[in-house]
Every structure is written in C-alpha cells, then in structure tokens.
Amino acid sequence: MRMIRYTLLRALQMIPTVLLVTVAVFVLIIIIPGDPVLSMLGYYADDVTAVPHEIYDRMFRELRLDRPIPIQYLYWLGDALQGDFGKSVVFRVPVIDVVLSRVPATLYLGTASLLIAIVVAVPFGVWAAVKNDTWVDHLASGFVLFGVAVPGFWFGMIVILVFAIYLGWLPSIGYVAPQEDFLRFLKHLIMPATVLGLDVAANILRFQRTDFLDQLHQDYVRTARAKGLPGQVVIWKHVLKNSLIATVTVVGLNTARLLGGSTIIETLFSYPGLSRLLIEAIYARDFPVIQAVVLWMVVLVVVVNFFVDLIYAYLNPRIRYTTA
C-alpha cells in the first residue's frame, strides 16, 4: 500500500520536471542566433534582402513566428505531445521518423553494455570486497584503474584492430537490425557494447567494492553471523541488499547516459544511434532534430531516475515511509 502511494507520488512528480525540460528545449531554439526562416530556406548569411518578401512572410507566419513566444511554445508543446516535432531540415521528413529510426540501435547498444557492466561489476565488486587485500582485490583495483583511465576511443580502436583487422572475427563498423539477421546483429553489437560496458563496469565496480567493504563492517553483519547463517547467505542476502543502494545510484546515472547513446563509441564504430544523429544534426544546424533528440535524452534521465527511486524504496524501507 505504501509502495503504491510512493510510486504514484513519484510518477506525478515527473510531470513538472518534464514540462520544465520542454521549456528549456524550446527556449534553446529561440536564443540561438540566426534567423530560422533564412536557415530553413538554406541561407546561411543573415541577408533578408536575398529572399523574396512574400516567401519570407509566408514562412514566418507558417512557423508562427508572428505570435508571442509563450503562444509559440504552447503550439510547439501541443504538436510535440502528438509526436510532431516538425520536419527535419536535412532529411526533409518528419523529425519523429528520423529519431525513431535511430532509437532501436541505441537502445540495443545501451541495454547490452549495461548488462555487460552489471554482470561484470556486481559479482566482481562483491568478490573484491570479501577478499579484501588479496590478489582478487588488486585485480579489481587494476581493472578500475584501467577502465577509468583508458579513454573509450583508444580502447575501441585497439579492439577493432585486434578483433576486426588482425583476427577478422568481427565486423569493425555498422549495424544490422536484429529482425533482419540476428547473428550479424550480435556480431555488430558485441564490440561497441563491450567497450562501452567495461567502461561503465569500472565505474560501478569502484562504488560497489567500497560500499560493500563498508557494509561488511556493520553490526548487522555480525548479528547475522551470530545467528549461524552461512557466509554466503550473509553476503548475498544481508550485505548485498544494503550495498545495492550505492550501486543502483551509479547504475542509474550510467543508464541514462547509455540509453541516450555514446557519441564517441557510436562515431568510432559508425553505429547509427541517436548520438550520431545528434552530432550530424548539430553540424547541419537541423534544429528540430536537435530539439527532439535532446528532449528524448532528458526525458530518459527523468524516467530512469523514477525507476531508481522505486528501487531505492524497495532496498531501503525507510524511504517509503518518510516520503509517502
């Protein structure tokens, strides 16, 4: 009951946040220098005289630029809620179609790297903490150091060099949709997902290990052992649930980042995800696309935070009671 109330409350709290974000995304376009009519017509210099008056005025009215800014925002928001973000300047098709065509690729890559990160980091972090100051712990520290210090693009290039070029096992670039050919989809996914996943794993591992070590010295651990529970039960039941609070925080931060797409990795592997779309749109000054992608990324952060909060409440019962 308390959990349901808490969930509803948190869900409602997302609405003002998202609205605020839409204002920010809308204002982004207003404050960008340059005349939108001219840039949409393909003129880069702000030379109004170069365009016939009738055409300029028609465009100006069509884009509702004659209305006050708050009204413009409401029109824009109404359209956006229906999935209409206008037309892409570059692709000449609705923005929503362009964005949706890139979303799956990014979601696959994000999810795969997140899974790799969690599967590597959580057990390894627990193991390193339990075997504190042994070779396992040192190995984990080395891994963290490597993951945090080595830039993704360099590691990515090395991986391409080894597995695509020398060994020829995997394709170096590109993307195949899973419904087309699942095996080729996996082959294209595995390298970018691993490079991205190990980077995130290092981040998670760092927090997981430290927090787990801290939890191991808590009084409740001694109580659990005094009850005769085997070491494995104490670790995986009692300690893990408490140490996951820290882990979930880090995983949440990284999830939003991953599902928004990684610019460097997508570029390096010529992977057609959202981040690359964003980069392309920025170069082409394709503002409607930029708006939509930025909005997607920010909404993702809000939604992921919502789920993180729910997991917090499950892991730490105190949260349920103080907020609900």
Binding site: D219, Y220, A226, K227, G228, V233, N242, Y321
Partner: protein, 330 residues
Amino acid sequence: MALLDVHNLTVDFNLGVESLRAVDDVSFTLEPGEALGIVGESGSGKTVTALSIMRLLDPAARITRGQIWFDGRDLATQDESAMESIRGRRIGMVFQEPMTSLNPGYTVGEQVAEVYRHHLRLSHAEARRRTIEMFERVKLPGAREMFNKYPHEFSGGMRQRVTIAAALACGPSLLIADEPTTAVDVTIQAQILSLLGELQRDMNLALLFISHDLAVVSELCTRAAVLYGARLMEVGSTDAIFTAPRHPYTAGLINSVPQRGQPLQGVPGTIFDLRSPPPGCRFHPRCVHAQPRCNREIPELTRSPASTPVERGHVYACHYPLDRAGTRPT
C-alpha cells in the same frame, strides 16, 4: 559437567608492526542454567572473550592458546561450518547496539524467521508462526502485527527484544549477552533485564552476561568474573564477590558504584595500554596496597579457603588479598 569450560584462553591481535594480547590466560566455567557475569572496564577483554566463544573474532585476532569446551567439543578448533551449526542453534548472542545490530533492509520478522528456516529447516509458514510465538515470548506488543515491520519503526528496547528473539529462536543452551542494556534507557534497561532473567529460568538457559555495571550483574547473575587488562582478577559467587571482595580491583569497582549520600569513589589512574602491559600484577600501578612483589610476580588464581558455602569456588589473583572486612590484613 560444565556446559562451557573456557580454559587458559589467550587471544592475540596482530596489528601489523605490533601485536597485543586482548585476552590473557582466562579460565572460567558455566553450568547449565547458570548465569555468569563478566565484569570489567572497556578494553578489559570482555567482548573479545565472548567473540572467541562464538568464533566471530576480527580477522586480525587469533586464539593462540587455550580451549573452549562446549558440549564436549573444543570450539577453539572447530572449523567455520561446524561453528555455523552451533551459532544461533546451540549458542545465541545478543549485542550491545540494538540500533545497528538489525539489518535495516529486512523486516524484523524475516530476521527471526530465517533462523528457523536455516537451522530447523522449517517452511516459510511454520517459521512465521514460530517467530510470532517467539515475539510474544519476548513481550513485543502486538506480536502478529510486528512481523512485517522494519527495524527503523522500532525503539531501541523493542529492537533489543527482536535480537533476543532471534538469539533464542532455536532454543540454545547458552546465551551470550554483550552489554545488552548499555545503549537503552534506564527504564527499558530494567524491562530487558527482567525479561532476560525470566527467559533464563523458563528456558533453563545458561547466561554469559557481559557488563561494566556491577549492580546489573549482581541482580541477574549468580556468579561473576572480574577482568582487568585482559586477565582474570577474581571469580566467585556474586554474593561473595560483592560482600567480601578479595581483590583490591574488585573492591575499587564496588566503591565506584554511586550510592546515595556518599561521595563517589573511583579507582585512581587509568587502564594501561594493552600493547605494553606492566610487569607483575596488571593492576599494581593503580593499586593502593601494592608491594614490591606485585611489580615482579604475576599472581596466580588462588582458591579461597572454603569456610562458608558462599566462598566455595571463589578464586582471586592477588598476592596480598583483602580480608573479609575489605581491608588489608597486617
């Protein structure tokens, strides 16, 4: 035969460059159903002694000498899996800090029920039923509704009842209580103590009660052992120890108990650093009766001539024990 026979127990801590002896040659016995209080200042080795029996010592600590006979087995040499079947099943333990000794992430009911499921292989439903029974036994008000509550919803006294329920769930024959009332209010303290006394009688439980509070020990225990600086100073019935202490340290402790209308007396000086214990009797630098010999020879535990039943089994480690009037014989 004694239920618990701690024999020459010695525990060393390895602190990297240096080491210290936290428990030095400590011996005592505990009969089934008997309550023994272990008394001493902080750092005297009370808790380390208890944790040695449970084999829950810090990784830096090692039992370097002695035996811990329990149920015909030497706990000092049991492996971890053997100890797991003893902890919670044959020996229960309650700790000092009720606010932190329960897991904040699980309901209090689950933290007791898991003991039943693990040791007695009971089903979830059966473990739940037995847990509620146990909650009633430790007098948690509204035991049934308490099952699904979390520790943070409980006061210190209620949490301590939960930890007692968990420790006694499987009907152990020995309960070790490490300062169970130090961290709770005085009124709650009295309730917890009377609960422990009641449970001890009803369940025919042997109780090893660790405390720095002499008044509490004299109320709850039939025998007491006084520790100072990792060594035993005096062991005997609480009657004998509190009415006629033979060791000057015990006498000092008794004088430190506040009494209405009397100026508070303490033991002068402070406890020594365990890393560099004084030679001879550990207590001699603070002892008002110390003689040159106390600086050279470590006094052995000596049996008091058993002239009265109260004095039977009364031992003390002092070269110049006090007489029954509490003064040094001349």
